[in-house]
Amino acid sequence: MPQQQYKRSCSLATYARLLELYPPSFLQRHRGEMLQNFADLEDATESKVRLWLLIGRDLTNSLSSQFFRLRLGRYVIAVFVTWMLLFAVGAFFHGATPGHPALHVFGGVLPGMLAMYIATRLNRAPQNGISHFFRSPFDIYVTGVFVAWVLLFVIGSFFYGPMRGHPAMQVFGGCLIGMVAMYIATRVYGMQ
């Protein structure tokens, strides 16, 4: 559907971008209707703030609902539960993991991102072959997040020293952050 049919505005363009967070199958059915509804809401509203509060709440509720219906969502839950079990068993048998907290978190981010990456590649049509890597916005995003995390932890450790907390929780938290970062990437940049 040509985008010119809508009265374009900055808000509508932002909303159109946010719609990419929904699963493709849902968008295929409702993208046109949702954009039209947003345009109607925008025309009718007296306050943009109120409009975006409604849209923000709507996105939060409907995205979480859509996500947990996907195979990808169920995969995330499975990985989440597996990680919890692994750390519970590890803590029970071996106690706290020794080492630097920043490394624990970083150690969690990496498998979290990797797990999500594998899941998205398996659940969507992948472009196989190493020659394709680093050529799509998706891969550039992944690399960017990875480098940003390395820098953040190096700077954080340099200025503030080791953080407090249980190592298992630090790794677990890192894993979760990694998965969320990867999920956002897959939705914003697609899976080509």
């Binding site: 929904y22 849902f26 709507d58």
Partner: protein, 107 residues
């Protein structure tokens, strides 16, 4: 929402969509406006919630698409099952409300 669950208590979103579609086919934005009016402004539904609910309601056989000529303005209407479920849910809510009123009068 499977067909087996359709007779149980409905979510506020599903109940209000059924109510908005009773006796008239509407497109998405029209449904949102009607839900807001019916609920006296207490239920404000965004597009994501609306179409997520509609998808589940179509799968459950409560609602059908009636006019798809304009992909930006698809019209929806109640199926026979949707009307029956709306009636059942309204009676259930009335009974609950009546009981609540009785309790409040006693206390």
């Amino acid at each position: 929402m499977g067909k087996s669950k359709a007779a149980g208590p409905l979510t506020p979103a599903v109940f209000h969509i059924l109510l908005a579609l009773y006796g008239r086919e509407r497109h998405g934005y029209d449904i949102m406006l009607q839900v807001k009016e019916d609920s006296q402004g207490h239920v404000k539904m965004g597009p994501g919630t609306l179409y997520g609910s509609l998808d589940r309601m179509i799968a459950a056989g409560l609602v059908i698409e009636s006019n798809k000529q304009d992909p930006r303005r698809i019209y929806y209407k109640l199926a026979a099952l949707g009307q029956a479920v709306l009636r059942t849910e309204s009676e259930r809510l009335s009974a609950v409300a009546a009981k609540a009123r009785r309790h409040l009068r006693v206390t």
